[in-house]
Amino acid sequence: MKSIQKKNILHCYVKNHIRYLMSCLLLFTLMLSHSTYASSISKTNITDNGSKQQVSTKQTQLEKIIPQLRVKNFKKKIASIKQLAEIDDPQTIVILEALLNSKLYYQKSDKKVVIINKKNNQYETFSTLNNNAIAIVQKKTLKKITTNNKLRKTIRALLAKKKILNSNLDVRQNALKEILTANDASLLPVLEQAQRQETDKSQQDLLKLAIALIEVHSNNSETRQSAVKRLGNSLYPVAKGKLTKILETDEHGQYIEQDKAVIALAEKAMQRISSKLSLFGNLETLFFGLSLGSVLLLAAIGLSITFGVMGVINMAHGELIMLGAYTTYLVQQLMPNDIGLSLIVAIPAAFIVSGLFGVAIERGVIRHLYGRPLETLLATFGISLLLQQMVRTLISAQNVPVITPSWLSGSLVLNPAFALTYNRIYIFFFALFVFAMLMLILKKTSLGLQVRAVAQNRGMATAMGIKTQWVDSLTFGLGSGVAGVAGVALSQLTNVGPNLGQAYIIDSFMVVVFGGVENLWGTLVAAMTLGITNKFLEPWAGAVMAKIIVLISLIIFIQKRPNGLFPQKGRASGGH
């Protein structure tokens, strides 16, 4: 039994997140105010449904229904499942969960239905009746009992009913969310019982909503009115959905709903929800913008060093990002069992790989082209072709899979209408972190000092004993390394393939130029501005038009301020 029973992964998963996010102070304060997760786990005693009972009759029932699960027709399968769920036996849950998780198979030889557990390349089979291990077999000898979308939804709802009173808060909560849309009046007593026992606040709210959703359909007008009022307090999409339904009109524009009082209240409730939703909608757009901005920042910041500080137009910058993403892939191939860790390892690895490529490019090509910025553009374009084709030849022309660790998927739910996706949050802070590190390197280290000296006056720097060639290589390596690090982040958002770099190169240049060359702060502000502008334009202009508008505004902006947002200071600018 133990081997099959799913550990409560979800719980650990949430805890993990909280740990990771403690560092994100900014969001932490937000979390406190909207906390759904931070609340403590309920300690009330809610009796477990599965107390021990006599089994023999149920066994026969089970034995009768289980073979029916093999049918191909999903409608019949659903009917069997519903029958199965009615049997009051803890084993039904095991079977249903196995089916849900694609672990229910039948043996091709004798058509016997078994539960399996994958062990390396072999399958260990277990009895559906008592979970006893049966044998270890080859995959070929088994056939999976297929599920489809609808079937799984049915199973979830059936399981949820059994879990409303579960002692574990997360299980309860997920179960309740599952049945919100069920619209099943028979659930009302259980829900009310749960409401009496419940101590957790968010779960209480959810229960209220669930009850209101059922009571809306009551025959009593007052019950309905109060239910409608309560719906107006909830930000869950189902609440709004229900209200929308109440306010539905026929083809003549007349309300289908007859009860005037209900309509009036529903309209009010709808307004409340809508105004809240639009606020959160704007916050969400802002977050999207910041997130896009952080991606642009990551992509551009390396360029801002090679282009801004060294005056080298590196068209292969995108390919250095791509190399970083491929490094992530290769690191994951080396440590397939520690996906989370591999991502952390990939950061320095990508920095080194792209950095070394950068140094090689600088030593091999760019060194010979200083003072001819437009020629570096052409030569590095050649390099970008080479790198792309190299990856195609050595690895594959196809995209490669980079796995996202669990702590990077999903989202931080601040309230039902406002959730921030974890990968974006991490990437946002990661971008800021990379930015801060670069600032530190440039401002506080001797390398940084030398880099700035060379950037400002190469001749003078040489005269003062700085090995400018060495500084050039390191600077270019640094910029390229940062591009590699950006690749690690991008591998979590988008395809990793030979064309990855192409998608970012033009945007990166725009960011750097917009921000003002030789100014990392400019790059930061520019990236965020472009990201946010883009995202606020997108809803009404569409993704493509938004981008076109941003590009054209940028062209016009540069006319007004040819040196970007934060031009380099000094009276010497302009020559002579």
């Binding site: 200071k569 000094g570 009276r571 302009g574 002579h576």
Partner: protein, 291 residues
């Protein structure tokens, strides 16, 4: 200044952004002509000075390059401007030639032309020529072509496309080549000239423009003594017909040509007078010795 002329400057300012359309400027000038006795595009030196700089201030990101500078250059005068590094000499030239716009103050060419409202090429066409500190010539062109390009003529695009040099124009170029002593190098690429020759070539280009005022920034840097003497000779000979403003570090050279010297310090005029007066000026001595 009258309210009306203020309006005029506003109009000009607005139109300045449409520099491509010269005709609009001319039209508006014609419209306003009745209020002025002299056409605004003609040089009017009836009051003596050809260049007026009044209370000019310029700052770059907090650095005060020019600080209420006032300076008058008379028509036909040869004026030397000296001052320590950072005194604002080059910035002053930038203001006159339209490269830098003053934060406050007025720059006039003659009585009528407000230089702060004009573009660089208009100022150049109006008769102010400038030689840069570092010789700036067209390296890929021959000596002849360098001079040809600088020649005073219609400098519109379409005219340039079809123009052919006339005999007089050729004579003029040859004349100037002789003045600057580069006869042997007619068709050499300018890039191949020595530093001194480049300085000369640039002066030659100035002469080709036939300007009313020549602004000369460190003309003798990198020249031998002989060359320096020739330059001095040339500049003095130009004075009278042209106004010449020379910025120079070399005191000997200044002494050899100047009768009137202005000392700049921290963006404003510290002293003005003959070389002797300036040299004995207590403030000037402090500034120079204090460094």
């Amino acid at each position: 200044m009258s309210a009306l002329s203020q309006v005029r400057y506003k109009v000009r300012d607005a139109l300045r952004r449409d520099r491509t359309f010269n005709h609009t400027i001319i039209e508006s000038d014609a419209y306003l002509q009745g209020t002025h006795s002299v056409h605004p595009n003609e040089l009017d030196v009836s009051h003596g000075p050809v260049l007026y700089l009044e209370d000019i201030s310029v700052s770059f990101d907090g650095f005060q390059a020019l600080n209420n500078l006032s300076l008058y250059i008379d028509d036909g005068e040869l004026r030397c401007i000296i001052g320590p590094n950072g005194a604002g000499k080059t910035t002053m030239m930038d203001v006159i030639t339209g490269k830098t716009h003053p934060d406050s103050g007025q720059v006039f060419f003659g009585q009528t032309m407000d230089l702060s409202q004009m573009a660089e090429h208009d100022i150049a066409t109006a008769g102010i020529g400038r030689k840069f500190q570092k010789p700036t010539i067209f390296p890929e062109h021959s000596v002849w072509e360098n001079l040809e390009l600088a020649m005073k003529t219609d400098k519109g695009v379409w005219h340039s496309l079809f123009t052919v040099l006339s005999a007089e124009q050729k004579d003029r170029i040859e004349e100037v080549i002789e003045i600057i002593g580069l006869q042997a190098l007619y068709f050499s690429k300018a890039d191949l000239l020595s530093h001194g020759q480049k300085q000369w070539l640039e002066i030659g280009m100035l002469l080709m423009q036939d300007p009313r005022v020549l602004l000369v920034d460190e003309p003798v840097a990198g020249m031998t003594h002989q060359e320096m003497d020739r330059t001095a000779e040339l500049l003095t000979s130009l004075a009278g017909k042209h106004s010449v403003v020379v910025v120079e570090h070399d005191m000997d050279f200044v002494r050899s040509i100047a009768n009137q010297v202005t000392v700049l310090h921290e963006g404003s005029v510290l002293a003005e007078g003959t070389m002797e007066e300036v040299q004995n000026n207590q403030k000037v001595i402090e500034v120079y010795l204090g460094e």
